[in-house]
């Protein structure tokens, strides 16, 4: 296994008609040996391009890529000692599962008994034993997915690359495969780089997550750190479902004045840190699960209260999502299902003072204190 390092990687695509497009704008990071790192972001953010550059399927425009101790800038994919699982699995349709699994080893001219042993091992890890003589089209989506993973395992590479491998599966299968992949990582102790646009997948699988947007890395952190301490409004809004609420506000006299007229006193630490914003606009970020109905608010929540007309209520069984407007923005609260809520009624909500985030509306960066 090995670590992977990006140093000032830039990728520019030149197109005759559309001009040039910068897919990755100077990324640098280190993926440690045996680490499971997930790249996440909306489509077009540069995450798949980054993965393909590690694989050698794309050449970076500038910067260095290191796998282990080697700079691999000019190495062909086959010489990088990586294995990749593709979004569409890329199984060879005319070969049996056994042939699919062994294709790479046969190209390497490994001894027959070694190939057989490795195919057997991989197929038993993934439960493919009785499918080895079948063709890919005779397999279900989940089974094909396993074959694609198996093909990577038999190669015993330094780094595993996964390009949105679960996106073609139905929701139930996706959850099952997610669990299997996490177990596989533990079992193989492999360095895994995994790309997805699904933040739930990222949160559940990644030891660390790289959040990207428009070709730039927004934050690299553990799932809990991303959730609790997002660097900026993009990360705050992207991680977590339903997304974090943003409320326009002003700071004045130690108080937060929210759009729509509500005001509440700031805790001391916050008041000190936000002093520089006195009289200026600021954005308050609060996650739906940190807004309570007044009747059920825990004591520690504090005195950040706001009143609003409830517009929509979604009963999800274990919880309810309540939607109301604060100023121009729609706000979602995830509340206890037994909280009495009447549609259209004016209701008082309590914001958990310890869980509030403050953002600079110009830079969109979180104000740290």
């Amino acid at each position: 296994m090995a670590r992977v390092e990006f140093k000032n990687i830039v990728k520019v695509y030149e197109d005759e008609k559309r001009g040039s497009f910068t897919a990755v704008k100077g990324s640098s990071f280190v993926i440690e040996d045996r680490e499971f790192v997930v790249f996440v972001g909306p489509s077009g953010c540069g995450k798949t391009t980054s993965l393909r550059m590690i694989a050698g399927l794309e050449r970076q425009t500038s910067g260095d890529i290191r796998i282990g101790e080697r700079v691999v800038n000019d190495l062909h994919p086959k010489d990088r000692d990586i294995a990749m699982v593709f979004q569409d699995y890329a199984l060879y349709p005319h070969m049996t599962i056994a042939e699919n699994l062994s294709f790479g080893l046969r190209n390497l001219k490994r001894p027959k008994d070694e190939i057989e042993r490795k195919v057997k091992e991989a197929s038993s890890i993934l439960g493919l034993g009785d499918m080895l003589s079948r063709k890919p089209r005779e397999l279900s989506g989940g089974q094909r997915q396993r074959v694609a993973v198996g093909r990577a395992i038999v190669r015993d590479p330094q780094v595993f690359l996964f390009d949105e491998p679960l996106s073609n599966l139905d929701a139930k299968l996706r959850i099952q495969m997610r669990v299997e992949l996490a177990e596989l990582h533990k079992r193989l102790g492999a360095t895994i780089v995994y790309v997805t646009h699904d933040q739930v997948e990222a949160m559940t699988l990644g030891e660390r997550i790289v959040v990207m947007n428009e070709g730039e890395i927004q934050q690299i952190a553990s799932p809990t750190e991303l959730y609790n301490k997002p660097n900026n409004m993009f990360v705050a809004g992207f991680i977590g479902s339903p997304a974090m609420n943003f409320i326009d506000a002003r700071i004045g006299g130690g108080q937060a004045l929210l759009a729509g007229g509500t005001a509440f006193p700031l805790p001391e630490a916050a008041a000190r840190a936000l002093g520089a914003y006195e009289g200026k606009p600021i954005v308050l970020g609060v996650r739906p699960e940190h807004i309570y109905g007044e009747a059920m608010a825990p004591d520690r929540a504090g005195s950040a209260k706001l009143e609003a007309h409830v517009q929509v209520v979604e009963q999800l069984g274990a919880e309810s999502l309540v939607y109301f407007r604060v100023g121009e923005r729609m706000v979602t609260a995830r509340v206890h299902p037994e909280l009495p809520v009447a549609l259209g009624a004016r209701q008082t909500f309590v914001l958990d003072a310890a869980k509030l985030h403050w953002f600079d509306p110009q830079t969109e960066q979180r104000i740290v204190f």
């Binding site: 694989a55 994919p77 890329a90 060879y92 005319h94 190209n107």
Partner: protein
């Protein structure tokens, strides 16, 4: 009981009216080509089958049982033409498939605009009629020293050849015309099939240590097998029926060296007025084509899906 029956009949009629309302137009539209097929294809084929057991005359036909078939199988010219047809087929179909594949493979590497240009240019001969092509080729095969191909030979220091006029080169000349003729459909089909192979398969192969040759032999060629099979079957069928070039360029000569089955059928029917024998020959040709096609499907068919 009685009321139930009449009720059922009534609902049956109502169902039929409903059916007509729903599907009447669809059936009307289908009826036109079906009728054309029945009148101009199925009926003549059936009638020809009947004639093949007759000594056919315009005014009077007599039943002769299997005489036409036995005569045919004893006829040297029939076997000669069968041999010519088989040689022509074996000599042209695989070569043409390889040429189409090679050209498609080269074109596939080009940029989109260049691809479109070559596709169009190479497809043009397919649109041209066989008659036009044959006339051009008669000029190319002109046996005098001023003939196009002969001039080339003389330039290379070789003797001119009577391309179509001698037994040793006549059939070869027709094959040469086929090799250099139309590969448009084959190229288009191969290009479409090549475009249909997911790029990720090649990327996976790159990671799997596959060399350029391995990618070609283990991925491209096997995945194009359905297209190759299609071209093989249709190519063999067309080649078994080769007629226009023979009719226009050699008239089956010299000494039956280029008489193909299709040309023999034409001659038997319209030069010798033996419609019964010609029909028998046609049915044997059809049977051969069916058998060969079935064998091709049996040995070359694949279950590829991607």
């Amino acid at each position: 009981m009685r009321s139930t029956t009449s009720h059922a009949a009534g609902s049956g009629a109502a169902r039929f009216r409903q059916f007509l309302r729903n599907y009447g137009w669809a059936y009307a539209f289908i009826a036109v080509p079906v009728l054309l097929f029945l009148v101009f294809t199925l009926y003549p084929v059936g009638w020809a089958f009947v004639i093949s057991f007759q000594k056919y005359g315009i005014l009077k036909s007599t039943w002769v049982g299997f005489d036409n078939y036995t005569y045919m199988f004893k006829d040297d010219v029939f076997w000669k033409s069968m041999r010519n047809t088989v040689i022509f087929t074996i000599g042209t179909v695989p070569v043409n498939i390889l040429i189409s594949f090679g050209l498609a493979f080269l074109i596939f590497q080009l940029k989109q605009r260049a691809q479109t240009f070559f596709k169009a240019v190479l497809y043009l001969p397919t649109v041209a009629s066989g008659v036009t092509l044959s006339i051009v080729w008669i000029a190319i095969f002109d046996p005098t020293p001023s003939g196009m191909l002969n001039r080339l030979l003389i330039q290379l220091g070789l003797d001119p050849v009577i391309w179509l006029g001698q037994k040793s080169t006549a059939l070869f000349s027709l094959m040469l015309m086929s090799w250099l003729g139309s590969h448009g459909s084959g190229i288009i089909l191969y290009l479409a099939a090549m475009g249909g192979i997911p790029k990720s398969l090649y990327e996976a192969a790159d990671i799997d240590h596959a060399s350029g040759w391995k990618k070609f032999s283990r991925i491209t060629w096997p995945l194009l097998k359905p297209t190759t099979l299609y071209l093989l079957v249709t190519g063999v069928i067309t080649s078994f029926q080769v007629f226009i070039s023979v009719y226009l360029m050699t008239q089956g000569g010299p000494d039956f060296a280029t008489t193909t089955i299709a040309y023999l059928i034409y001659q038997t029917a319209f030069n010798f007025n033996q419609f019964g024998l010609a029909s028998a020959q046609a049915f044997v040709l059809a049977a051969v084509i069916v058998i060969v096609s079935v064998l091709q499907f049996k040995f070359f068919s694949t279950d590829i899906e991607y």
